[in-house]
């Protein structure tokens, strides 16, 4: 029974870099149709940003909301598929910059777009077991799409972080339950030394995203005896805008319970950060006492699903750091050549 009895979000934060490239700009260049773009535009990290710097920014916001002394945080797990180093942890750099405890457990997690919620699984378990007082679970990516590939329209940059500790009246949201559902499914992969991932094109839908997302959601609802009526918000991974809305249709979830978590239309698919930023956007709006079902999806493949209930501390803590909407409002549009320079796609 994967019930979570004593772990809560004490602080949350997201980071979205200020640069945007329009889907239209990419479609025009590659002679593709501009009428049905998977997202309007995507967020692009600047030339001096990477998974580490974005993790730092998101974590700073989460720590500010939690009001926790950074030296008491003793776990940092970063989930990402765009580690700046093949060998050298991202978490230790994040910990050093933020002034966290040296007595910290840290590792980078890899599970495509589900790596961030793997960090959430780990940190909630460490807190519940009493091994740590506070921990940071981070999802961050500077996702790469091969120029001209379908993924290029959506592969975006962003980060989200949660400070997790024990339940209290003044916390932001208590975890109630967690479940995972995985299988060996080759929908998207990248071999060592390859710069860009490969994907199974149409194979990415039915047997991959939909099967795992719907299985995880059905399992967690079934094991708790919940129906759609018991949940106020549903947060899904968003490889595009269409997929999460299609899940809602299959499960007969009213759109008003899904749309508050949609972020891909404004920033694209931020991979390991994607569903976590969706949860941030919901926490920006939710009221205390509401139940959220939060489900990631990672290729390869699997979903983590969590039930959370918001608490009294949410309304007070919300204003202690920038919201998703405030993050997104810092916006500078760039053209394709600037995008190539920023993301180091020019090799000479």
């Amino acid at each position: 029974m994967p019930r979570i009895s004593d772990a809560a979000i004490l602080g949350y934060g997201c980071y979205v870099p200020r640069y945007r490239i329009k889907g239209y700009e990419m479609a025009k260049l590659w002679g593709k149709s501009t009428s049905e773009l998977p997202v309007k535009e995507k967020a692009v990290a600047g030339f001096d940003e990477d998974t580490v710097t974005m993790s730092i920014e998101a974590a700073r916001h989460a720590i500010n909301r939690a009001g926790v002394d950074p030296s008491k945080i003793s776990a940092v797990h970063v989930g990402t598929e765009s580690k700046p180093y093949a060998v050298k942890p991202s978490g230790t750099i994040v910990a050093e910059v933020l002034g966290l405890s040296r007595k910290t457990t840290s590792a980078d997690f890899e599970f495509a777009c589900k790596a961030g919620t793997e960090a959430v699984q780990m940190v909630t378990a460490l807190v519940e077991a009493g091994r740590i007082e506070y921990g940071l679970a981070i999802g961050a990516d500077t996702a790469q799409g091969r120029p001209g590939d379908a993924l290029e329209f959506t592969a975006a940059s962003g980060a989200a972080a949660f400070v997790i500790g024990k339940n209290s009246r003044d916390c932001i949201a208590k975890f109630e339950y967690a479940t995972s559902y995985v299988s060996d499914t080759p929908d998207f992969w990248r071999r060592s030394y390859e710069r860009y991932p490969m994907h199974g094109s149409r194979f990415t839908g039915e047997p991959a995203y939909f099967h795992h997302t719907i299985s995880a959601v059905s399992t967690i609802m079934g094991e708790n005896g919940f129906s759609v009526n018991d949940i106020d918000y549903f947060v899904f991974h968003q490889p595009n805008v269409k997929f999460p809305l299609a899940v809602a249709k299959v499960l007969s979830i009213p759109l008003e319970k899904v749309k508050p978590a949609i972020v891909a239309d404004q920033i694209g698919n931020t991979y390991a950060a994607c569903s976590m930023i969706g949860l941030v956007k919901v926490l920006d709006r939710a009221e205390p006492g509401q139940r959220i079902l939060f489900t990631s999806y990672g290729s390869g493949a699997g979903s983590d699903s969590f039930l959370l209930v918001t608490c009294e501390g949410l309304e007070r803590r919300r204003n202690l750091a920038p919201t998703f909407d405030e993050m997104v409002s810092r916006r500078k549009e760039i053209d394709y050549s600037t995008y190539l320079k920023f993301r180091e796609k020019i090799r000479v």
Binding site: D48, D50, T53, Y85, V97, G99, E326
Partner: protein
């Protein structure tokens, strides 16, 4: 600062703006110092600069030193921190035309450069316009 050891020693200042402040005259020194450079006092304690300040001067660099060639053009700023200390660092998340003297800026940690041979990434403080 292109050798791992020297970069490693600079971490407290370049990551967190930590250094030593003279208890007698208030002067701030990056990193650990035993004697105050301004008044000679030996009474210094560990302190951290504030994360915000005022932009005093800036210049646009288009001919960069080794390891930073791919970053051009970039902006170097002279900032008066809220405690009066002066810090010189790059500006980010802005264009030169966005900048006005006396505007408020805040610190952020970004990639400063990548060592040509070792590919080691040097992270450190930059400034950006305050939100």
């Amino acid at each position: 600062m292109s050798k791992p050891a020297s970069y490693w020693r600079l971490r407290p200042f370049v990551y967190r703006l930590e250094g030593s402040r003279c208890v007698k005259c208030g002067h701030f020194h990056p990193l650990v110092r035993k004697v105050c450079r301004r008044c000679g006092s030996k009474n210094l304690e560990r302190d951290r600069l504030p994360a915000t300040g005022i932009l005093r001067h800036f210049t646009v660099v288009s001919q960069a030193q080794q390891g930073m060639e791919k970053n051009t053009p970039f902006i170097v700023a002279w900032v008066e921190m809220d405690d009066g200390s002066k810090v010189v660092a790059q500006m980010t998340d802005c264009e030169p035309e966005d900048l006005k003297p006396a505007m408020k800026v805040e610190t952020v940690v970004r990639k400063i450069k990548v060592d040509g041979e070792s590919r080691l990434i040097f992270y450190g403080i930059k400034f950006r316009p305050s939100a």
